[in-house]
């Protein structure tokens, strides 16, 4: 029985990962979710957070800033605006992300302020999470 699914992570600039995984943890806009083989077909947007693919070859984790995930019964495709392998996450990268989120909040039009604030708080959570 096939209990793995094909996990693809693509960013606009390149393909970051394409592996078999048994489960994929996705930071969805409405809460984290874990996709396993046989998951109902779903499309969800992402919030800034940690994306984790656990598979026979080990675990791969990425920090993603936004985008969306397409989940099917036998595959998960994540289109992330920016994805950074967790191992490459350093203080400066995170600080840059926070700075960028702050700038976006500053220039966001009135009706998008709430969304930008949410993004900022997610990025802050990501940073504090990574520090431990």
């Amino acid at each position: 029985m096939a209990n793995t699914l094909q996990f693809d992570l693509v960013s606009p600039e390149r393909k970051l990962a394409s592996v078999q995984a048994t489960e994929v943890q996705i930071p969805g806009a409405e809460g984290d979710m874990t996709a396993m083989a046989g998951h109902v077909a779903t499309i969800t947007t992402l919030r800034p957070g940690i994306l984790k693919a656990i598979g026979p070859q080990g675990t791969q984790a990425f920090a993603v800033t936004g985008g969306f995930a397409e989940i099917g019964a036998s595959s998960v495709t994540v289109l992330a605006e920016r994805a950074i392998p967790v191992d490459d996450l350093s203080g400066t990268v995170l600080d840059d992300l926070v700075k960028e989120a702050r700038e976006l909040l500053a220039i966001a039009p009135e009706d998008q302020k709430a969304h930008a604030e949410m993004v900022l708080s997610d990025v802050l959570a990501l940073r504090s999470h990574a520090k431990h």
């Binding site: 693809d8 693509v10 960013s11 606009p12 600039e13 390149r14 393909k15 969805g28 806009a29 409405e30 109902v40 077909a41 779903t42 499309i43 969800t44 947007t45 936004g66 985008g67 969306f68 397409e70 495709t77 289109l79 605006e81 920016r82 220039i107 039009p109």
Partner: protein, 294 residues
């Protein structure tokens, strides 16, 4: 009749020119390979993005709640005076054959057509070469410029910056329709100037059934989130295609220049040898006729 020395100098100078154009051709070839790889790498993302947007647009598009990026501002229904924003993508450097001229020609034709139809045209230039060429005819229509001179390698961040600038203008109600102009890379010798409408979005027709998906959050919310990303992705693709086209155009232009320089060297060398021979013959005749006179 130029002197022998002049000819010699001329030959040396053309030889130097040939060396330079040859070097530029090789640099362009190397850059072209990198640009093509970048364009290749960006394709999966753009393809998925377009497919998902097309699926969503097909199911949400008809309803009243469709986002303005998809449905448009409705200006065309209220009155005929639409404001068009033309985003012109050209290179920062010259010496790339007809690369910039072909884009500018397309923009000029489009702008004249729109103006003749009584619409307002605004132009946003990316890359300074197009700006220079358009300034004389359409200088009054310029609304902004994005400088790419400092950008060594086009990244998604550049596309996002351009997209943000366009959205800010869209939100402010400065225009109703946005079209990007760029060269689509076909091969080293052929680049196709292309006009692509990005706002309102024109999703590709899809036969894929999208209703099978669960959407989280709602379809409308996802579409509203994705459309700006889709526009940024289209701009990014255009930038990459343009980058590859520029290098391709430069490569063939420099190849031609190298060949022309070679031809010119041959012609000048023949001329040089002829006049050298003529000088020798003349001296011989002088010596012989001098000897005969004795």
């Amino acid at each position: 009749m130029p002197s022998l020395k002049d000819l010699k100098n001329r030959i040396t100078s053309v030889k130097n020119t040939r060396k330079i154009t040859k070097a530029m051709q090789m640099v362009a070839a190397a850059k072209l390979r990198r640009a093509q790889e970048a364009a290749e790498a960006a394709r999966p993302y753009a393809d998925r993005m377009n497919a998902v947007i097309a699926g969503l647009a097909a199911s949400v598009g008809g309803s009243n709640g469709a986002p303005r990026l998809l449905a448009g501002t409705g200006a065309d229904k209220v009155h005929l005076l639409k404001v068009h924003l033309l985003v012109v993508m050209t290179s920062e450097r010259g010496l790339c054959g007809g690369f910039n001229t072909t884009i500018v020609r397309l923009v000029r034709a489009k702008a004249n057509e729109l103006l003749a139809a009584g619409k307002t045209v605004k132009i946003l230039t990316v890359g300074k070469k197009g700006r220079e060429q358009l300034r004389r005819d359409f200088g009054d229509h310029f609304v902004g410029h994005v400088d790419m001179a400092e950008v060594k390698r086009v990244g998604y961040a550049n596309a996002q910056d351009i997209a943000r600038e366009i959205f800010a203008r869209f939100e402010a109600g400065e225009f109703d329709v946005a079209t990007i102009f760029f060269n689509r890379f076909q091969s080293v010798i052929s680049q196709i100037p292309t006009a692509q409408q990005i706002i309102p979005a024109q999703p590709v027709e899809t036969s894929e059934v999208s209703a099978l998906y669960d959407y989280e959050p709602s379809e409308e919310a996802i579409l509203a989130d994705l459309l700006p990303r889709g526009v940024a992705t289209q701009i990014f693709t255009a930038l990459l295609e343009n980058g590859a086209s520029e290098q391709g155009a430069r490569m063939s232009a420099m190849d031609n220049a190298t060949r022309n320089a070679g031809d010119m060297i041959n012609k000048l060398t023949i001329q040089y040898n002829r006049s050298r021979q003529a000088a020798i013959t003349k001296e011989l005749i002088e010596i012989i006729s001098g000897a005969e006179a004795l």
